[in-house]
């Protein structure tokens, strides 16, 4: 799916609400106004967790997600981004782009998102393509298929996100 025609545009409904929020702020109701403004647009929320492996009471290996507060090299990290459409309108061609964080390496096959078309960039989010089409050129000018170490960004493309719905996308990395 092509999605190269995105340009900066104005979302008139949101803008007007934000202006209304500012007016409220002058009345000392700033917090309520900001919440109201958030809930009229698209909101992104991201959580990073550490995935640990342990054994349950019958000895089977299970994985569990815990807060990413005690992370050392080699640990697995799960990034979950929730995109919420809090407007009253259908959002289309919803493209969520997430850089592979510095000091981490994307784990092959880990990008997930229900109904989302996943693609990757190896050039700092200039171009995105499917895994099998990614090519990198080394300093000698020789091309080779990209590996997960080459990925700089991940993109999930949702054809649409109805009003008052949300979707989760996730990926895993390992701390270098």
């Amino acid at each position: 799916m092509k999605n190269k025609n995105l340009r900066g545009g104005l979302f008139m409904v949101a803008i007007s609400c934000m202006m209304a929020g500012a007016a409220h702020a002058e009345d000392g109701l700033m917090v309520a106004a900001e919440v109201a403004a958030d809930e009229r647009g698209i909101v992104l929320n991201m959580v990073v967790s550490e995935e640990i492996e342990e054994r349950n009471i019958v000895g089977n290996k299970i994985t569990r997600l815990i807060d990413a507060n005690s992370v050392v090299p080699g640990d697995l990290l799960v990034y979950v981004t929730t995109v919420s459409n809090r407007s009253q309108q259908l959002a289309e061609n919803v493209a969520i782009v997430n850089p592979v964080p510095a000091h981490t390496t994307y784990l092959d096959g880990s990008a997930q998102g229900e109904g989302a078309m996943t693609s990757f960039s190896v050039d700092g989010a200039k171009n995105f393509d499917a895994v099998e089409n990614l090519i990198v050129t080394d300093e000698n000018g020789e091309s080779r298929p990209a590996t997960t170490q080459d990925y700089t960004h991940i993109r999930w493309l949702l054809s649409s996100l109805p009003a008052n719905t949300e979707a989760d996308v996730l990926f895993r990395t390992r701390l270098d």
């Binding site: 909101v43 493209a95 969520i96």
Partner: protein, 391 residues
Amino acid sequence: MSNVNPLKKLPGLLATVLSLTMASSAAMAAGTLSGTTVSNSATVNYNVGAIPQPSVTSISVDFLVDTKIDLTVATIDGAAVASTPGSVNNVLTFTVTNDGNASQDFSLSAVALANGIGNAAFGGDDNINADTFSARVESGGLTGYQSGSDTATHIDALAPDGEITVYIVSNFNTGYTNGDIASYYLLAEALSDDGLVGTPGGALSETIVADTPGSVDIVFIDGDGDGAGTSDIDRDAQHSSQNDYIISTAALTISKDSIVISDPVNDTTLPKRIPGAVIEYQITISNGSGAATATNIVITDSLDTEIGGGNIIFNTAYNVTADQGISIQHPGSTVPADYYEYSNAGGAEAAGRGAVIADWNVSGTNTVTVTGIALNADESAVIRFRVTIAL
């Protein structure tokens, strides 16, 4: 703000990629340095009614990389280190590697293995201990242990991925037997890097209670080294490796035989030991299998009682010419190939191994003396000389 916790919705998604996470264990060295902040934020673009909308960016989610304590002690020697009884500064060589992601000091201990059956690092039974032993750190000067400069007993400030050579240095008194084994562990423990040269840092404690968000915690991930004979276990900031000394000393044996060469009646045909018969003495010196090289072997054989009593006399006419009464076959003999006849007036072998000298009467009256023979393991030397039974 929404308070929907996305993690609660994950199990279905996670199950689908579980197998992938197992397969992608990258070769890990020290990794991302302790204290690094890893940040990430997502951006979304979308259209409403075909009109592109301003992109939305999430807040940045950050975490702080904690301190991983990991180390490896490895034995460098490929076989037990041969040591001679009575020798000093016998060296077992190890490396200590900081596999953690922060600079650490390390304490070092040389731990003698308890005696046991089949428990040595390179096979065999640990049955002795060295008389003195200690751990020393390579100072980075000359390669190999230098007693004058490699004097540190702990490691200061070893950087992530840093590796340093450590020695166990031992002295052995005399009295040990060829093949005795003294087995040792080098046990290293990561300490805090106190920033001081010559002073070890304090012991580390793993952060095992509630994590402190936003602070650098300490996690032990080291493995269990060779450790059966040490306190070293998984995740204790310690690691160990085992190495052996094996006593290597010469195992000389000596035997003496005689044969009759000729007698005045039968000449060389079935000669008998009658007066006037020529008798050849043969002294064989052997060094045992696996033994150390013995040098400067001195053999003396006194015939003073027999000669003084008038029973025999030296026969100084050996194979080749007169006045050459002692023959020596030893490793390195070159002139001729296997034998060389020495003058009984004293003379050194011109070529071959060592400076072998055979002579009469230098160490005592009527005594054969041979000096200068060297024998490796499994080598022998044979000394022959002749006497005549007095008429």
